[in-house]
Amino acid sequence: MPPRIKPALLRQLRYLHLPSSPSPVRCTSSFPSRSFSATTASASASASHSSPNSTSPNSTFTTVSPDEVSHFNALASSWWDPQGPSRILHLMNPLRHDFIRSCRSSVLDVPPPPSNNLKYLDIGCGGGIFAESAARLPTTASVTAIDPSPEVLSVAKAHAKRDPALRSKLTYLNTPIENLPVPSTPQDGYDIVSIFEVIEHVPYPADFLDRCAPFVKPGGWLVLSTIARTWLSWVTTNLVAEDLLRIVPKGTHDWRKYINEEEMKTYFLQKRAQWTEPRCMGVVYVPGLGWKEVPGSEKVGNYFFAVRKVPDTA
């Protein structure tokens, strides 16, 4: 646990009265969280960040928390060390492709959507674990990968030079999403917009997702992964993974920023038009075995989530 959030956690744990509320699902709904679906954050969630103003021009609004950027800057050099602090992300990566494939093949469009020449936008790409792998797939036309952390991005660029297969397919940009030009027509959007293990590092997730949404092509998918905010996820990601096992670098997670799958669904399907076909897959990291899909675990820990932008009706 990083010192900066410890007192808050203890307060929240006291509030939970864990012994009397055994169900983790009920727990999560019984304490106040930052208001995810609103455009302004509640003061208690993150007093240190200035509230965004969704009406202000891009030049002043930011989805980025400076603390987060400096945290990941410090991790940059070890990003591609398979035994290093990012090992657990490396191990998760194949599941992301399985999940995307299962989402894309689950729709019954007639005619089926094209499965070749896919365009990806990877937001918060980090060192490029997912971005590189997406670019290597023969079904991929291009990958644009962005991250606000300059150090992490230069590691990503240097690493991509090691593989001639990536040269013409992968483009890195050191920018937050709010500074990336929105596609001029919906059809110029991306088939897959991915946001893996990022949203828990963003101070105002609803605003952040509002900025990501226009990049998805009609019929395309927004795919993300994150961690549910439950007492179990606190124990596993903060206490066990960061403090005890040290398989995740200390200070990576601020548990208050976690978002539950139900909240995701509410955001996309009730508060926003244009979205359909929500998909979810809960995954559990088993030391020694790696990541495993565990149905139902999305309620308590790491999960993948995807929604499809309503296709254009021709």
Binding site: N93, P94, D98, R162, A165
Partner: protein, 493 residues
């Protein structure tokens, strides 16, 4: 030497794993006419396999026959002339002396990759029963199958050249492998960094011709003295057995006690090492006799009739008598005839009498046990004898290599379908963890068996007859051994 392009097909096939611009730049150099042009940049491949023995050829076949991995750019570097393998042909009644017993698991794998059909099937001999006994105490492990499994194939005796020439035909049919034939690896180094490419972690194979091949993954299928293993700095540990394996193609008095439908493999543990006779089609069998280098030299020096007599003696006489027969430089035939009158044995429990040996088939190989510390490094993987050498007493060396290749091909397929860089150590981890343990167990078991049975007297001898009888008494243990021999038990090989 030259770069032989097996088919023009790779010029059109999608090069999924290499970007379009760089493959365009690289493609012209694939053809023979460009081979002599020296270049600054090495040719870039996804997989460069050094060694075109059973392991290397199976790997390339597996990669080319799988649609997921068929888009990879693959190259084979082989020091020997593969033309001789490709055009290998013997009359139906002549058999090569280098034979291996392929387990059903290996045969299944070869079938899955489309190679089994390319073997000369009339030269492949399945066998259905094993007779194994201790030459000192005469204790037997009864290996016949119990009724439910009766008639089940334990393994297929196959000439190594039948296998490798079949694999080559399958590779020719699939196309798309750039073959550097009769090409020795002169050296291996790391690549360089240029403005837009950083190949400092990519192995670059230097051929004697001056050509250089950069490898996303360099596979060492280059046998026991693997140059790839040396490049990767991977230690291989073990010991020499001070034994040689003497091989020969034998002619027997008949098709075997069970006839053509029930072929039997025999192995007798002698104090000098096990002697095995494994069935080939008709009245032929192949010999694998592990013995001291001095005995091996004697065997190779004998006239055919004395050689035949010594082989018959090896399955019949008591160890002391057999030892005496090794002390005379000729006259084994007469010696045997005289000694057999005074020896008791059950004719039908041992192989039929050998009546001849095929010309030029008597040869010997030093035996050793080696195991590499790991099968993987960054952009390096070892398969087959490059990773391990085993005592031939269980006939498992080649099968272990097939198991390696099957696992490595599956690992590569997983990487390709998930966009992983197939050469990184991280991507290769599952190959190492799948294969290392099972191979290690098998190497250990065969090593222990050799050691226990090479004592002619002393405390181990009564213990081991107890051991063999105990194995017989313990049904589950015995079926474990049998299942392992057939390669369809818990997946050990």
């Amino acid at each position: 030497m030259g770069s032989i392009v097996l088919s023009g097909r790779q010029l059109q096939r999608p090069l999924s794993s290499l970007c379009r611009s760089c493959s365009r730049r690289l493609l012209p150099r694939l053809s023979r006419s460009y081979a002599a042009v020296s270049s600054q940049q090495p040719d870039i491949y996804d997989v460069v396999c050094v060694g075109g023995g059973p392991a290397g050829l199976s790997l390339l076949t597996a990669l080319r026959s799988n649609p997921t991995t068929a888009g990879l750019r693959v190259a084979l570097v082989e020091a020997q002339d593969l033309e001789k393998v490709r055009s290998w042909k013997l009359p139906p009644d002549r058999f090569s002396n280098r034979c291996s017993s392929l387990t059903p698991a290996s045969a299944q794998f070869l079938d899955n990759v489309g190679a089994w059909a390319h073997l000369h099937r009339d030269r492949v001999q399945p066998y259905h029963e094993m007779q194994v006994w201790d030459g000192v105490t005469d204790a037997r492990i009864e290996f016949e199958w119990t009724p439910p499994a009766a008639g089940k194939t334990i393994a297929y005796m196959t000439e190594n050249l039948n296998l490798t020439s079949g694999l080559l035909r399958r590779i020719d049919e699939l196309g798309g492998v750039t073959v550097f034939n009769s090409a020795r690896v002169a050296g291996i180094s790391f690549g360089e960094e240029t403005e837009d490419l950083d190949l400092r972690e990519w192995p670059v194979v230097h051929l004697a011709s001056g050509q250089r091949l950069a490898a996303r993954l360099l596979v060492g299928a280059d046998g026991a003295n693997s140059p790839v293993r040396a490049f990767a700095g991977i230690e291989s540990r073990g010991w020499d057995y001070e034994r040689h394996g003497v091989v020969a193609t034998l002619e027997l008095e008949g098709e075997g006690w069970g006839g053509d439908a029930m072929k039997i493999a025999y192995q007798r543990f002698l104090p000098t090492g096990p002697v095995a006779m494994l069935p080939l089609p008709g009245n032929l069998s192949t010999l694998v006799w592990s013995t001291t280098p001095a005995n091996a030299a004697l065997l190779k020096s004998l006239s055919p009739k004395d050689f035949v007599a010594l082989v018959n003696a090896a399955f019949r006489l008591r160890p002391v008598d057999l030892e005496y027969m090794h002390t005379i430089s000729s006259g084994q035939e007469e010696e045997l005839a005289w000694r057999l009158q005074h020896t008791q044995f059950n004719r039908r429990a041992i192989p039929q009498t050998v009546v001849g040996v095929q010309d030029g088939t008597i040869a010997s190989f030093p035996l050793k046990m080696r195991h590499a510390d790991t099968y993987i490094g960054e952009r390096v993987a070892l398969v087959g004898d490059a990773a391990h050498s085993i005592h031939p007493l269980a006939g498992q060396g080649l099968n272990q290599g097939q198991g390696d290749v099957e696992s490595l091909a599956r690992t590569i397929e997983f990487s390709v379908s998930h966009g992983q860089d197939l050469g990184t150590r991280m991507s290769l981890e599952s190959y190492n963890s799948e294969r290392y343990g099972p191979n290690h167990v098998l190497l250990g078991v065969c090593d222990k068996l050799h050691k226990i049975y090479s004592a002619g007297s002393g405390p181990l001898v009564p213990l081991r007859s107890l051991g063999l009888s105990a194995i017989n008494a313990l049904g589950p243990v015995k079926s474990f051994f049998m299942e392992q021999a057939a390669g369809n038990g818990i997946k050990l090989f």
